[in-house]
């Protein structure tokens, strides 16, 4: 019986000798066009800004100082904490967290419902959830901007129904941004939770029911602990892109409801830009995301144990 086992293991190594050559294009492309650029961006965040949006190769902490510390309008006052950018980050984290929570509230029951359909119909339901994900995010955001306008379909419908007498100003508020983030990333929440619920062994629920647990107890004490890795994965998949979102705050939020994405974008527009500062904000955003991913990785390994 040694022979088949042997050929089995060599079968998974058909391309063993070619590994380096097969992976060379991947390393070259992603390495040169993403890994090195990200490192270079980190270097940039320590450079000096030049007037007219350029840079000088002099190392300085100025960009990070600008982010955290203010010395008054003329730079001659004692250093104080600069709240402008921290507030923008705080608003982004808060908005992204709220969108994650809302997606979870709608996404979990949806994922559960789909996963408990007969196996033949499940792919159709899943397909319905995935289609909007593949539709251009710009177009989806534009359609929300159209709907939420003062004289848009939403306000017209509510006025026709007599719910309100004057149009509600929704566009260009934090609420509009929140609706946009929630709407943009909702499919990301459903898919991983679905994958977890589909693998869930319903005998566990039945056992809980036999032991006189009611539905709610079964859900919170049996089901949720088991499918938790799926829930955490869904939350990460919504939270990360929502944190760095650009389109929703830009098209729905207007000038007053800045998020990190718009702050970064602004640093690279025209001669008013500040590239080292934009790079520094990007590095800070990337660090936050990295922390979120590490939390998720720890959670996933605990789920397997």
């Amino acid at each position: 019986m040694a022979a088949p086992v042997n050929s089995q293991s060599s079968g998974n190594q058909t391309y063993g000798e070619l590994v380096n050559r097969l992976l060379l294009p991947t390393w070259l492309v992603i390495g040169c066009l993403l890994l090195i650029p990200v490192l270079l961006m980190t270097v940039y965040s320590f450079l000096t800004k030049e007037f007219r949006g350029g840079i000088e190769w002099n190392f300085t902490l100025a960009a990070y100082e600008q982010f955290f510390i203010t010395r008054g309008l003329f730079g001659d006052e004692p250093p104080q904490i600069e709240w402008t950018y921290i507030t923008i980050f705080w608003r982004s984290v808060w908005q992204a967290a709220l969108a994650t929570l809302l997606c979870l509230v709608i996404g979990f029951p949806t994922a559960w419902f789909i996963a408990t359909r007969p196996a033949r119909i499940r792919p159709v339901w899943l397909f319905l959830i995935t289609i909007p994900y593949w539709v251009n995010l710009l177009i989806r955001t534009v359609s929300l901007r159209f709907i939420l306008r003062d004289n848009g379909p939403l306000n017209e419908a509510m006025m026709a129904l007599g719910v309100i007498s004057d149009p509600l100003p929704i566009l260009n508020t934090d609420l509009a941004v929140q609706i946009g983030l929630f709407y943009s990333y909702l499919p990301f929440m459903v898919l991983p939770i679905y994958a977890a619920v589909e693998r869930f062994d319903f005998a566990l629920s039945e056992a809980a029911a036999d032991l006189y647990a009611n539905r709610w107890q079964t859900l919170t004490q049996v089901v949720i602990p088991v499918v938790r890795p799926g829930i955490v994965a869904g939350c990460i998949l919504v939270f990360i892109p929502a944190l760095g979102a650009f389109l929703a705050p830009d098209l729905l939020g207007g000038a007053k409801n800045f998020m990190v994405g718009s702050l970064i974008d602004e640093q690279f527009r025209g001669s008013q830009g500040n590239w080292p500062f934009g790079a520094a904000v990007s590095v800070i955003l990337m660090t936050l995301v990295l922390i979120a991913l590490l939390v998720q990785a720890r959670n996933a390994s605990r789920g397997q144990a």
Partner: protein, 266 residues
């Protein structure tokens, strides 16, 4: 015991979820057929805004942007599918080798880094090496972030194909090249098509990264639409959006069908 699977209100949540996802798309599709010049008042069914897209004052600008978008998406999808196929062969048929974990992380890197950060990093890189931003820089950036999307269905498909088929071919004196071309490639087909289609849509849809690396005067369809929307949503934008919506849905459906047929055939 259907009881333990049923929770009251979960059906309602699912319907709410689908409504939330689809109503905005339907609204924009319906209003694109509005005959009125104002986007607010409904004045009967008309195809005039679709005609406007192809013959109106902005037709040339949108035509050029469409050409850029389509050609970039086709090239980026093709190149990234080839790179992803090579990577999948090494990762799944390459046994264990040094740097496997690191390579896996690298393939997924474009999905891990927030889009806006990828955009900033790419722009800084191109500026530093002195590459003028334009068609070429968009294309290079697109190839990079399309790789993981092409990789996923190809790797999934390859994992499902037993290595015994290639082994049988090799035992019958096929060269490795022949075993790949005549045995593995046809089996891998649905995964390749599916990966290519997904990469194509991802490239066609990208706005944030393209907007950073496109340079002045260069437009793709999303950046052209964004530019117009900034001045207010005009009906021709809704027509163009509806057309793009149709293309995306068509391609995803194709990818889904190819994948499903492949699965039942294998």
């Amino acid at each position: 015991m259907k009881g333990v699977r049923h929770y009251p209100g979960f059906l309602a949540a699912t319907i709410a979820c689908l409504l939330i996802l689809y109503v905005p798309l339907m609204v924009i599709a319906v209003y694109s057929f509005n005959g009125s010049t104002s986007i607010t008042k409904w004045s009967g069914f008309s195809l005039r805004w679709y005609a406007d897209v192809f013959t109106g004052p902005e037709a040339e600008r949108f035509g050029l942007a469409t050409w850029n978008s389509l050609s970039i998406a086709i090239i980026a999808a093709t190149v990234s599918t080839m790179i992803a196929t090579a990577a999948a062969l090494a990762m799944i048929r390459g046994g264990s080798f040094r740097g496997r974990q690191a390579t896996y992380a690298l393939i997924n890197l474009p999905l891990m880094v927030p889009e806006i950060v990828v955009a900033v990093a790419t722009l800084i890189f191109f500026t530093t090496i002195g590459l003028t931003t334009g068609y070429m820089t968009i294309l290079l950036a697109h190839v990079t972030f399309c790789i993981p999307f092409a990789y996923l269905p190809i790797a999934a498909r390859l994992t499902g194909i037993e290595p015994t088929y290639e082994q049988a071919a090799r035992d019958l004196y096929a060269t490795r090249g022949q075993a790949f071309r005549l045995v593995l490639l046809p089996l891998l087909g649905p995964g390749l098509v599916s990966g290519w289609l997904l990469a194509f849509i991802i490239s066609l849809d990208d706005f944030i990264i393209t907007n950073f690396v496109k340079g002045a005067g260069m437009e793709t369809l999303p950046t052209a639409i964004f530019g117009s929307v900034k001045q207010g949503i005009k009906p021709n934008i809704m027509a163009i959006s509806t057309l793009m919506l149709g293309v995306s849905i068509l391609f995803v459906s194709l990818s889904y069908l190819v994948n499903r047929r492949g699965r039942t055939a294998a």
